[in-house]
Each structure stands twice: as C-alpha cells, then as structure tokens.
Amino acid sequence: MSVQIARTLDLKGLQCPLPIVKTAQAIRELGSGDLMEALATDPGSVADFGAWCTATGNELVEQSETDDVFRFVIRKK
C-alpha cells in the first residue's frame, strides 16, 4: 500500500462550500487508491469532510489539527 501523498490541496482561508467543491474537483484527477491531502481553516470543514467521505465512499484516512489548520488525508475510492 502506498503512503505517498499524490496531491496536496491548499484550501486555507476558503469558506463553505469551496473546500468540499474544490476537493471534489481535484480528486477527479487522481486514480483509485491515491492519497490526497487537504489543508483547510474553515472549522465547518471538520464535519463536512467526514460527511463528504460518507456520501462519496472516499476514505478519510487521517485527520488532525495544527495551529488552526485542519489536515485531511483522503484515499480515493
């Protein structure tokens, strides 16, 4: 299993619904099983990324917060 991040998406400062919309747009470029890292500052994105993964079937592999930046690692379905 590859643990390399295929793409990092900087969503810092963006507000709803942009973090999710831009994530959905960006993940189209990746292959199945690829990992994408998303960095966001919108506190709503914590719940939204979880909901988005539930809805789309992509896997939320990792989630953390450092200095008010939320980091999500998603494995594409």
Binding site: P17, L18, A24
Partner: protein, 176 residues
C-alpha cells in the same frame, strides 16, 4: 452472531443503494442575491457529493441566467419593462432585504471577497464544471420573452413542470 453480521451487511447494501440513487433537484424561483447564493451553494455541494443535481430555473430565477451584456429582454413593452425595472444577470442581483438601492449587494459582495466566500457567478461556473444540469422553464421564458440568445451557454433544453416533477420523484427537492 451470524444474524447480526447478516443484518449489518443488509444495512451496508441499503446504504450503497441509497447512494446510487441520490439526486438533488433545486427549483430556483427567486432572483434575489440572498436566495440565488444558496441555490448555487447547494447545487455545487450536491454535485460535489456525487448527487445527480439539476436546477430548474423558473420565474425570477431565470434572470440570473441572462448574459451579463444583455440589459433589456422581451419583445413587447411589458416584457421589456420587467427587465428595465430589474436588470437581469448574475452580476446584477438585488438583495431580498436591505437592498438600499444597490448599496446592500455591494457591501455583501465586498464582505464575501474579504471572507473568501465564492460569488454566485463563480459557483455557477463550478456547478457547470461538476456537471450540474441547468434547465430553464419553457413557460416562463415565453412569458417574459427570454430567448436562448439572451442566456448563458451550457443550459439544458427548456422543459415544463411535468418533466421537472418526474425528475424530482426520487430526488431531494428544494424550492428556493
């Protein structure tokens, strides 16, 4: 134990099936900035979530699809009067409250830019990129004298209420 596993499996399948049929239909009736905004936010989000998303534009909602350069629409003086009273186009929407002769929308757009909130126009482009179907209401187009030439590119064929309600039968439907 086996029963419990079977139950979980059934539930998982039900969940999958539910996702397969997820659809979102937005009836975009209003042309007010503070309603067009949520129309666009929910459409882009639905599409981003993998929902098959359709917006049916009717009555005042249709005017947000008019090209930016088009000021006056319609053939007769009554239809023209409507567009003269209320300039069509996504960049010229008024607020439903606190419009203050256009000062309200200006302030709102300024705030949005400052807070990195996407404008309805930007969201419309993203919606099109994500495959949201934009469907005008045929009857309202005729009533208001709007032609395909007045409107932006990339719209679906104009349809009637029946086609839209058929689409909405198995969809989450919102009237905004």
């Amino acid at each position: 134990m086996a029963v419990r596993e079977a139950e979980l499996e059934t539930r998982a399948h039900a969940h999958e099936d539910q996702h397969k049929h997820q659809k979102l239909v937005i009836i975009a009736w209003s042309g007010d900035l503070d309603k067009v905004w949520p129309q666009m936010i929910l459409a882009t989000t639905g599409a981003a979530m993998g929902m098959q998303t359709t917006i049916f534009f009717t009555f005042w909602g249709l005017f947000s699809l008019v090209k930016d350069g088009v000021h006056i629409t319609g053939d007769n003086w009554m239809q023209k009067m409507v567009s003269m009273m209320d300039r069509p186009g996504m960049e010229h929407l008024k607020l439903g409250k606190m419009n203050f002769a256009g000062a309200g929308p200006k302030m709102m757009k300024h705030l949005a830019k400052e807070h990195k909130v996407a404008s309805p126009g930007e969201l419309l482009e993203m919606a099109q990129d994500l495959g949201v179907r934009l469907v005008p209401c045929q009857m309202t187009m005729d009533l208001l004298g709007l032609t395909r030439e007045d409107m932006i590119e990339g719209l679906g064929e104009p349809v009637g209420a029946t086609t839209m309600l058929l689409e909405a039968q198995d969809a989450v439907t919102l009237f905004i």
